[in-house]
């Protein structure tokens, strides 16, 4: 049975997250839909980069969004919904990685997408992608948010639950570590 399509409402879509969450708590379904549409793409992208395959990424993205709404009562005053949902998604993705059997190879949908690249460039990108997976969780999160989500450090700090200065330091260390890891993997 086909599920009813989640309709877009331009008026609601333009509202800020805080207002939408308030309306959602009041039972407004349109606010719920607006938040889902706003975050499903970036959350799916984050999950795909963490997990390397679309099926797992879709599952994690959906679970993260559901959890974010189910547990919205735990959202602290002043904490943004964006930080909330990103943090849930990152933790769920890390749980999936942790629970994966070590010998199971990653299904590399991302590599397939890069198949158009010249061979040498693809190899360098592959090394870079592998290096990112080997970053410590906090550094990986900071890179994800700063580079892929293009968030300012203030927003990165909120999601990573650290100070803005710590987020910048983490990012700097992450880039340094990526260079080291990439050099390790050079033939």
């Amino acid at each position: 049975m086909a599920r009813p399509k989640v309709a877009a409402d331009p008026k609601v879509d333009d509202e800020g997250d805080e207002r939408l969450v308030e309306r959602f708590r009041g039972g407004d379904g349109a606010a719920f839909d607006a938040l889902v549409r706003r975050y499903q793409r970036p959350i799916f992208g984050l999950a795909l980069r963490y997990l390397g395959n679309e099926a797992d990424a879709q599952d994690v993205a959906q679970r993260a969004l559901v959890q974010a709404f189910v547990r919205v009562a735990d959202l602290r005053d002043g904490q943004s919904f964006r930080a909330w949902v990103f943090r849930i998604a990152a933790n769920l993705a890390l749980n999936v990685i942790r629970d994966r059997k070590p010998e199971a190879p990653l299904c590399d949908d991302v590599a397939v997408a890069l198949a158009r690249e010249p061979v040498v460039e693809e190899e360098a990108q592959r090394r870079l992608r592998q290096a990112v997976t080997r970053l410590p969780p906090q550094q990986r999160l900071v890179v994800e948010l700063r580079v892929f989500q293009e968030l300012p450090f203030r927003a990165v700090a909120e999601i990573a639950e650290c100070s803005e200065d710590a987020a910048k330091v983490n990012f700097h260390h992450a880039l340094k570590k990526l260079r080291v890891l990439m050099n390790e993997e050079e033939p």
Partner: protein, 138 residues
């Protein structure tokens, strides 16, 4: 490689989203349906969904800890039992027993004779015994 070059290469990893609108519509519908199911369960008295979701992690942690803790308790109990069994108890000092060699005589006999029985009151057989004892002692 500078930071900017590295960041540019990282951004290329992001790739482009080639998902059409139907994909996103379906995902949004799935999220809505799942949330509605959780809400219905919570409303029907299935417990707070937030608590149920959070409880999963706690239960997993408890199961993980149960085994090693049970083992540690069993080991402690076994050690305690072993210590009690092998605890050195000082044996009571043995009371010195008065043991008479078979060929020794008791001058005063064992029949409850009065200890202060005078020698001159001893009869001949008793006197012989005394004499033999004295010879031995010499």
């Amino acid at each position: 490689m500078t930071d900017e070059e590295l960041q540019a290469r990282l951004r290329r990893l992001a790739g482009s989203s080639d998902k059409d609108e139907r994909f996103w519509d379906e995902m949004a519908a799935n999220v809505r349906a799942a949330w509605a199911a959780e809400k219905a369960r919570a409303d029907a008295g299935g417990g707070k969904p937030a608590a149920a979701v959070a409880d999963l992690a706690a239960r997993r942690r408890r199961r993980w800890l149960a085994g090693p803790m049970a083992g540690a308790l069993a080991l402690a109990a076994a050690l305690l039992l072993w210590m009690r069994v092998h605890q050195h108890r000082p044996t009571p000092a043995a009371a010195p027993e008065l043991l008479l060699a078979p060929d020794e005589i008791s001058l005063f006999g064992s029949d409850g004779d009065e200890a202060d029985e005078m020698i001159d009151e001893l009869d001949a057989p008793a006197l012989d015994r005394v004499a033999q004892g004295l010879k031995k002692g010499a």
